[in-house]
């Protein structure tokens, strides 16, 4: 539990962006008498105690802070509680204990009508199996959330057309969901969730039902959209590669517990448990690890080029190995803070740990 609340070592404490959504000791227990059980213990219970009480802990003592504009990924295998947790955040599932804070305001204490308002204007969600309404065509599906709000027809059609252009579905406005491929259906799902211009965007395994090629294409599409829209994204996946590709930060869940939160690089370099290490083992490290992590103090050697401290090794590995000379590492203020040697890069690419042992 203490591990769960820790912030990464790489200065995230100083992240200037405000906290958009926070979970404070959130519990979701299933079973008879779950509410009394956790109330009586004031929000503290061990795994053994829960099992003994005959309950199932879908989310246990979850503490998370999601900052504005970041892509926050909740990653875990099936049954780890990630879907339950994200549904607690949007109150599709009522947590058994704890607080969910939306911009500091407790989401669990607001009224039904406030919640409806919040969902209408500030939250959007994309579902694994698309959840498109079968009786509406693409345009009507996308305009549906606006129509529920009572937005007039002309405005909502105009807005729907805007997002249709945004996700590249022009020309398919009058198709029905059953006439579209999986990838196109999920584009509709994405467009629909964006039609209300939400601030928080929940994506519940949005690409898991798609085949690998389409999945990759959609991941690129998501990155493109995010570069334009700057939403706060909470993204669920069971695919660690997907998590690494997209994430600013990742929370890894197991048995309802968040066992580590950190950037992909932190998870790879300092896994909190063997379980996390197991996930990160087959990751292509060069794509995750930044220049900062493998640099050494400045020596007297000549530099063949400069890289930024946050640049992934994969982005300059070919050049540095080709030049056979170290590169200078610069921080955001353009000050040189160290250097990276071709040797270090080769060791990393070859999968040899800095300590010399194979990873």
């Amino acid at each position: 539990m203490t591990i769960a609340s820790q912030d990464g070592p790489s200065g995230k404490v100083g992240d200037p962006r405000p906290v958009k959504l926070a979970c404070r000791n959130v519990w979701k227990l299933y079973g008879h008498g779950a509410y009394e059980f956790i109330q009586r213990r004031n929000g503290k219970a061990s795994h053994a105690e829960i099992v003994e009480a005959g309950l199932i802990g879908a989310a246990r003592a979850v503490d998370l802070e999601i900052r504005q504009g970041e892509i926050f990924i909740i990653m875990g295998l099936s049954g780890s509680g990630k879907s339950t947790l994200v549904r607690c955040m949007s109150r599709l599932v009522e947590p058994t204990y704890g607080r969910i804070e939306f911009e500091g305001k407790d989401l669990l204490s607001i009224s039904d009508s406030e919640l409806i308002e919040l969902r209408r204007h500030r939250m959007g969600m994309v579902f694994q199996n698309f959840a498109l309404l079968p009786h509406l065509n693409v345009l009507e599906n996308i305009a549906f959330p606006l129509s529920v709000q009572g937005v007039d027809r002309a405005t909502r059609i105009a807005r729907a057309r805007e997002v249709i252009d945004l996700v590249g579905l022009r020309g398919r406005e009058h198709f029905y969901p059953r006439e579209l491929s999986g990838g196109q259906q999920q584009r509709v799902g994405i467009a629909r969730s964006l039609s209300t211009k939400p601030e928080i965007w929940f994506l519940d395994e949005p690409f898991s039902a798609l085949d690998p090629l389409i999945r990759r294409e959609m991941q690129d599409e998501l990155m493109r959209l995010q570069s334009v829209l700057h939403k706060t994204i909470i993204f669920i996946t069971h695919d660690f590669d997907e998590a690494i590709r997209l994430a600013d930060r990742i929370a890894i869940m197991k048995d309802g517990e968040v066992i580590q939160v950190g950037t992909p690089e932190e998870l790879v370099l300092t896994p909190a448990t063997d379980y996390v290490a197991e996930f990160t083992r087959d990751v292509q490290r060069a794509k995750v690890i930044s220049a900062r992590s493998i640099m050494r103090p400045l020596g007297r050697s000549q530099h063949a080029g400069t890289v930024s401290a946050d640049a992934r090794v994969a982005s300059f590995s070919a050049e540095i190995v080709g030049s056979k000379k170290p590169f200078a590492v610069v921080n955001e203020e353009d000050e040189t803070i160290g250097e990276v040697t071709p040797d270090a890069v080769i060791r990393l690419l070859a999968g040899v740990d800095q300590s010399g042992a194979p990873a």
Binding site: L92, H121, F130, H135, N137, P145, F175
Partner: protein, 660 residues
């Protein structure tokens, strides 16, 4: 050591106990059966101890009639308004004013209605369906059954929307409050569907009078349950994600229900609508006995006068109507929006609904023409024809040439099959039956089920209806046995050959849409009235589920299991007996369950042709307007159905859970 020994000793005990218990129980009951002349009270329920439930119900109904008739009669008056309108519009002409100087507004022209049927078929299913529905309506007109058919159709047209709306709201209620579903709605639905249709008619007659409105209300009660079930099922089947999307889009609970859940459940709802229409047709035909008129009344009159030709014609008109209603409503259910064009606000009505506009224009045009040209107002006698003489000649020919063979067959069945079985059943001690059925309930579903089925069985005895109950059970039992002997092999054959399935499908589809009434007519022609006729008609009516479920059950065995069997070296025969059949058995049992319920419903209707059982009891009560007697007999019938249903379902559920 003990841990290891335990499972080994438990298993044999479990598998030998029940046969032993059954052997003892059967021996006991056999002893009771043999000693039935000594232990009279156990064999025949003592008449002194009969609980006069029928008199109590009769008293309640009388009280209701006296004290509530102002209420029920005003319901009659209110519901009479739309019904009269529909009747006038389709069948009877509007009469404004009274006496000789009344102004008469004509009913819709038959030409227009046929055209509308054609257009409805075109709108939902294309040219083939259009030709079918238009053609069958024309057929009804040319047979001279137009007015009767339109009477029947207008009753359906008013009853069906009523059933759909009521069913939808009840279904929503049951879905929103699972408790009300479990304790109120589900038992109510079971009862509504298992009480024979006749038994409904008596209280309706008493409360709402001898009018088409009574028939309509009885129809509504009978035809609503499938809509309730379809609504509950449809809502429960909406994927969780769609429901969650509704919430995340910020729907209010009402918006979520009406704009997300119900539209997503549309296919299931439409199946319900189709069933409502077919049940309503079936019931309207039966309800003709209490003043609904229409095609059912034609059949009834003809049957009573033993005019088989006329009965056959009216029956064929019912079949034609049934096929049109079924095919068009099914096509409407499966049709999905195809419209890819832009929906422009303010688009003209006739552009959006070309078929509907055309239908309205044609109806109005031909009806107006009808005021001038008689051809359009009424089907001219000159172009109608009747096949009744042909039917009569055919029957006469068969009777003359095959009378001996048919008669020999009939007498053989009665003497060597029906009568002995009947004697056995009617002599069966009621106490023994309660005991055995209770035991079966206990084995299959535990103490609660045992108590339920034993109590329901006992009800049939303590109301003094034991002998008639057993007469019903005997006839139903024989019919079900025959239906299974015919249906299951056909189902198996269909499951093993796609070609055979294709051949047999249209037949079972047609058998399924025919109102139960229609099965009696041809059989009566050949076998006259009596138990043999009832049995044959029932077998024909109830064979469909046995075929259909068997076929489906075998076909839905996962192909990878069959592949696994083939790979492990099973012959075709072994694959069938050791893999397909055991896996399909639960489904086949459900089919038999359906067959039993349908057979029971049919046996009761066969009371019209002189069977001596609970159906006859209801029939007598109907003619004497004795609601207590009719309702108790109706309940006894319903309880037979419920007992069979519960036992079979418990068995099937157990088999399913064993298969995982």
């Amino acid at each position: 050591m003990t841990v290891v020994a335990e499972p080994a000793s438990v298993r044999p005990r479990g598998s030998y106990t029940w046969p032993a218990i059954w052997a003892v129980a059967l021996a006991l009951v056999l002893g009771l059966f043999l000693a039935r002349h000594q232990l009279l009270w156990a064999a025949e329920y003592p008449s002194r101890a009969i609980v006069p439930i029928s008199q109590w119900i009769g008293a309640i109904m009388t009280w209701l009639k006296v004290n509530l008739s102002w209420f029920t009669r005003s319901i009659t008056a209110v519901l009479g308004v739309p019904l009269d309108f529909a009747l006038d519009l389709l069948a009877k002409n509007f009469k404004i004013g009274t006496g000789a100087d009344a102004f008469i507004l004509p009913r819709l022209s038959w030409v227009g209605v046929c055209a509308a049927a054609f257009l409805a078929g075109r709108a939902y299913g294309g040219t083939r369906l259009a030709l079918l529905s238009g053609g069958l309506f024309l057929f009804i007109a040319l047979f001279g059954k137009w007015t009767s058919a339109m009477l029947t159709l207008s009753l359906i047209a008013i009853a069906v929307p009523f059933c759909i709306v009521t069913g939808l709201f009840l279904g929503i209620l049951a879905w929103q409050q699972p408790k009300s579903e479990k304790y109120a709605v589900s038992p109510l639905l079971d009862l509504m569907q298992t009480i024979p249709t006749f038994a409904y008619l008596i209280p309706m007659l008493l409360l709402f009078g001898n009018s088409p409105v009574s028939a309509m209300i009885a129809t509504a009660i009978f035809a609503t349950p499938p809509m309730v079930r379809a609504t509950m099922l449809g809502l429960a089947r909406v994927p969780a994600e769609i429901s969650e999307f509704g919430e995340m889009a910020g729907c209010t609970p009402r918006q979520k229900l009406w704009r997300v859940l119900l539209p997503s459940a549309r296919p299931t709802l439409m199946v319900g609508v189709n069933q409502v229409i077919m049940l309503a047709l079936n019931m309207v035909i039966i309800a003709s006995m209490i003043g609904a008129g229409g095609l059912g009344y034609d059949v009834l009159l003809a049957l009573r006068a033993l005019k088989v030709g006329e009965a056959m014609e009216a029956g064929l008109a019912i079949v034609a109507l049934a096929i049109v209603l079924d095919r068009v409503s099914q096509a409407a259910a499966y049709r999905q929006s195809q419209y890819h064009g832009e929906i422009v606000a303010g688009q003209a009505f006739w552009v959006r609904y070309p078929n509907l506009t055309l239908a309205i224009l044609l109806l109005a045009g031909t009806t107006l023409l009808g005021t001038v040209i008689p051809f359009f107002a009424d089907v001219p006698k000159a172009i109608t024809f009747t096949t009744a003489p042909a039917w009569r000649i055919a029957i006469d020919w068969i009777t003359v040439n095959f009378f001996d063979a048919i008669e020999a067959f009939r007498v053989f069945l009665i003497l060597y099959v029906l009568n002995p079985v009947r004697a056995f059943f009617e002599g069966f001690p009621w106490l023994g039956a309660v005991f055995l059925i209770g035991l079966a309930g206990f084995q299959l579903g535990g103490a609660r089920l045992a108590a339920l089925v034993a109590a329901l069985t006992a009800f049939c005895a303590i109301t003094g209806l034991w002998e008639k109950t057993m007469a019903t059970v005997y006839l139903t039992g024989i019919s079900v046995l025959l239906a299974c002997l015919i249906g299951i092999p056909l189902g198996l054959a269909a499951s093993r050959s796609d070609r055979f399935e294709k051949i047999i499908t249209p037949f079972i589809d047609t058998l399924q849409v025919l109102p139960s009434f229609c099965f009696i007519i041809p059989v009566v022609m050949l076998f006259r009235v009596g138990d043999v006729t009832a049995m044959i008609a029932t077998v024909a009516f109830a064979v469909v589920p046995a075929i259909r479920y068997t076929n489906h059950g075998i076909r839905q065995v996962p192909p990878n299991l069959i592949e696994a069997a083939v790979v492990s070296g099973c012959t075709r025969r072994q694959t069938f007996w050791r893999v397909q059949l055991p896996l399909a058995l639960p489904e086949i049992m459900l089919g038999i369950n359906q067959t039993i319920l349908m057979a029971l419903a049919m046996i009761i209707i066969c009371a019209m042709i002189g069977t001596r059982d609970l159906g006859q009891e209801v029939f007598i009560a109907l003619s004497k307007a004795d609601p207590g007697r009719g309702i108790v007999a109706g309940l006894a019938i319903a309880f037979i159905g419920i007992i069979a249903d519960r036992l079979f379902n418990a068995w099937s559920a157990r088999a399913r859970s064993r298969l995982g």
